[in-house]
């Protein structure tokens, strides 16, 4: 019995080691969205391209879509844009854009230079929808199912790895359910 007690510190050290080791690979800046499993918050905002058109949560109804939060001032958005173009053109992914705290002028110059992968773009100069979604750093990409429910959020650049490992499985799952 006494012998066993001698190993107690070792057991404790191993337990703490395992606990800390599992945390090593995680990115602490990536937070899970509080909206997972909930509907996209109600909004009524202009379309970027056509100020007369008002968009609401109905843009997400009927199809599984990606919601990509972007802005001209956001450097990582420039990085990921090419991959978004690839997703929209070659993979036929429906991407809804949310232009976040930007101006029309800058947004248009961005799209003219890099192309437009978005089916629709919501124009949110005050960041009000962004705030309701809990956007804390563009770019952010949400998977939204055909009922308009948020399934997943990725914070940061979308690239091939993120697409294959994170977004695609959830999109397939969302498509399977509806």
């Amino acid at each position: 019995m006494k012998r066993l007690f001698m190993f107690l510190p070792l057991v404790v050290a191993v337990a703490i080691g395992i606990f800390l080791f599992t945390g090593l690979g995680k990115d602490p800046t990536e937070l899970e969205s509080a909206l997972i499993g909930k509907s996209v918050p109600e909004f009524s905002l202009q379309a970027l391209v056509d100020p007369d058109q008002t968009l609401g949560t109905s843009v997400f109804k009927g199809q599984v879509s990606l919601l990509n939060v972007w802005a001209e001032w956001c450097p990582s958005c420039w990085d990921e844009h090419e991959y978004l173009m690839h997703l929209a053109n070659d993979k036929g992914v429906r991407i809804v854009g949310l232009n976040y705290k930007d101006t029309r002028e800058k947004a248009f110059s961005f799209l003219n230079r890099l192309g437009n992968p978005y089916e629709t773009i919501i124009f949110d100069p005050q960041g009000s929808l962004g705030f309701d979604l809990g956007v804390y750093g563009a770019p952010e990409t949400y998977v939204i199912d055909a009922e308009g429910v948020v399934r997943f959020r990725h914070v940061g650049v979308v690239n091939q790895r993120v697409w294959e490992e994170e977004l695609l499985p959830i999109i397939n799952q969302a498509k399977g359910n509806s």
Binding site: L31, A34, K101, V135, Y136
Partner: protein
């Protein structure tokens, strides 16, 4: 040591303007309201710059959160309502003080558990050492006289 003092002085000297930068002007009717606001923004954590509260952070998102707190206060929202509104959007992460519920009870109880556990360990050690000293057999008559002889310096026996 003097070098250290100079560095410290510099740090304090330059930190003044850096902190003053993030304060915007909000109007409050009473001093109590303002204190309530200050307390709220000190307890809410910035999701972008994770080790700052929204009072200290000058990230745009923190400003939006401060605006929201102010707006809700003006609309007579209670502290709980304000914190809930932000938790609904940004997740429980934004609370520096996690709520006490089933998932967090271990977290909250851990200091008490550690103190009680430590106390029990110390008590156990003391109790055992006391018991051991009581259990030790008294010296036999022969050993006692030998020890007395040794202490008075008359011992000439070398066998041990």
């Amino acid at each position: 040591m003097r070098f250290f003092a100079v560095v410290l002085a510099c740090v304090f000297w330059f930190s003044g303007p850096a902190q003053a930068e993030v304060k915007e002007v909000y109007d409050f009717d009473t001093r109590a309201e303002e204190q309530r606001y200050q307390q709220l923004i000190a307890e809410l954590r910035c999701p972008k710059c994770q080790n700052q509260n929204i009072a200290d952070s000058n990230a745009p998102i923190s400003k939006d959160m401060r605006d929201q707190v102010y707006r809700m206060m003006k609309n007579d929202a209670s502290n709980d309502e304000i914190v809930n509104a932000l938790v609904l959007r940004f997740g429980e992460f934004v609370q520096y003080k996690p709520p006490v519920d089933r998932r967090t009870i271990l977290l909250w109880a851990f200091p008490a558990i550690a103190v009680i556990g430590g106390f029990l360990v110390v008590a156990g050690v003391v109790w055992r050492s006391r018991k051991r000293s009581q259990d030790e057999p008294e010296l036999s008559e022969h050993d006692k006289t030998r020890a007395e002889r040794m202490l008075s310096g008359q011992d000439d026996q070398t066998d041990r």
